[in-house]
Amino acid sequence: MIEARGLSKRFQDKKRGEVRAVDDVTFTARPGQIYGLLGANGAGKTTTLRMLATILEPTDGTAIVDGHDVVESPEKVRASVGFLSGGTALYPRLTAQEMVEYFGRLNGLDETTLKQRVDTIFSRLDMNEFRDRRCDKLSTGMKQKTSIARTLVHDPPVMIFDEPTSGLDVMTARTIIAFIKECRDRGKTVIFSTHIMTEVEKLCDVVGIIQSGKLLTEGTLPQLREKHGEQDLEEIFVKAVAPLYVEPEAR
């Protein structure tokens, strides 16, 4: 379970002054469900998910992840979370197996349990062929599988995916989508951010639309359709974000 309570993140920008990247966001993601956070670039999705994964600390508010407070017990939260984003890369000079083992050890697994977990995951994801190959020699698909294995090794109850398919080809993206579904089917709490409407329609049980750091609307797809009087998700999204939408600034 994830409960975000008034989650906010402000930072100082030289040009823009104080920026509210996330502004008083409250929502709940339940086990066995996929919560989709839908937003344009710069809407605040990544910052929200980074706060849930305790990579960033909230300026105000908090979140309870698997019973642990992100502000008070960040290390316990991280032990309960599997975090995967387009930006979470692999160590190039480690083999696929060493990479997964490293994260297993950091998550406190003993050597016997670690070996069992690694063997199980590598067989399930069909990774045995390249387990001893260095990460810098892996194909994109192999890398993505290794990243998945890395997030799964400690069998976390909560999975956080930040635009996990961004920049991937169709086949690799499908592997990720199938993996996210599998997490839900195993009863994990899943939160997933994207700006791709079809992914939301395929995957999400509950959708939250975010813009300028504010959670504008949320609900199941049928609820959103009813609330906004539109069938097409893209139309719903545009209607919801239009009042707050500003062109993202060049970085």
């Binding site: 930072f11 994964a53 990579i55 960033l56 600390e57 290390e75 316990k76 991280r78 032990a79 979370v81 975090f83 984003s85 930006g87 979470t88 890369a89 692999l90 160590y91 190039p92 000079r93 480690l94 060493e98 490293y102 994260f103 050890r105 950091l106 998550n107 406190g108 260095r134 890395r150 970085r251």
Partner: protein, 403 residues
Amino acid sequence: MSLRNIGIVYRKELREALRDRRTVVASVVVPLFLFPLLSVGFMSLVQNIANKAEESSPKVMLVGGEDSPGLLAALKATPKVEIVPATPDWKNRVMEKEVPVAVEIPPGFDKNLADQKKLEVVVYNYSGELKSEIAAGKINDSLKAYRDTVVKNRVVAQKLSPEVLDPFDITKKNIAPPEKSGAALFFGGFIAYIVVFLCFNGGMHPAIDLTAGEKERGTMETILSSPISRAHLVVGKFLLVLTTALATAALSVISMGISFTIANAFQAQAAQAGKETMQMHIGIGAALSVFIMAIPLAVLFASVQLTIASFAKTYKEAQTYLVPLIFIVIIPAIAAMLPGVDLNAKLSLVPILNVSLLCKELVIGTYHWNFIAIIFISTCAYAAVALSLAVKMFQRESVLFRS
């Protein structure tokens, strides 16, 4: 502080470092081969060039002197020079380095000499040019010898003993033990300089790779999503940077020991041939002391490097910060080599300079325990401040996610 977690990070970083060509080159190959090349290679090259120049017979042009057979005979008797006839453009030929030396003899030299008139012989050479300097030296020696003979003859003609020219002898005796002479002190300073330089250089690439490199490759976000605390993460990374810095220092001291043994063998040959030599020697005890004093310095370097490199967004950006720092680091090490700069209470608090000055003393076998204590404690204190700064940097989101 969880030693288990620090150990996990350290072992992983070590494994990656050993697979990284750049780290292996900077920490193992450079210190192992730099000294043999610098000491044995460079010294034998210099010696070879000097020997060749010494053995060769440089051309000497005599301008004038046709009416002075006495002086000409003395000059022609100069060993290992080739006397060539003068040409009208003799000055140009010296300037063009075609002829190393020209000697201008005033007209009527022998006659005027016999009349005891004051005369001047001018030796034209190209200063700084090895052949020209050697030839000028040889000609100078011949002229001086000829002048001494003339003076002696004049004294004898006055019915005086030639000894009146040399009423007493001056003898200079060095009573400093050879291992503590000025040359040995300079040598000690040189070792300190090399250790300081390589300690810094050895840790630089891993420090960048483990911080800015991680940001650039996208692995920083990956590791920050794991349950390890940032303090443990930094300490694990810091230990790896320290290991490479110390490995570089240790290998450089070992390599120096071996190189100097070989260089000394070369020198011994030269000494047998009657040439002046400088024996270079570093004992096991001195080497070990230098290494122990290098530890807090390496801690300081590793922490500073991690702190600065973690601020950078990319490997290149970190390099632009750290490479100029090499000059700031080696300036105190160079200052320690200067004669007259000796260890005192004030200098023992100046980072880098203090360890460099101490290493200079340690190499010659002098142990000032009070200074050793001050230096060790002060350097440890600086290192602790730098390390806590590195930990703080890793806890700042604005640094880790700087865009």
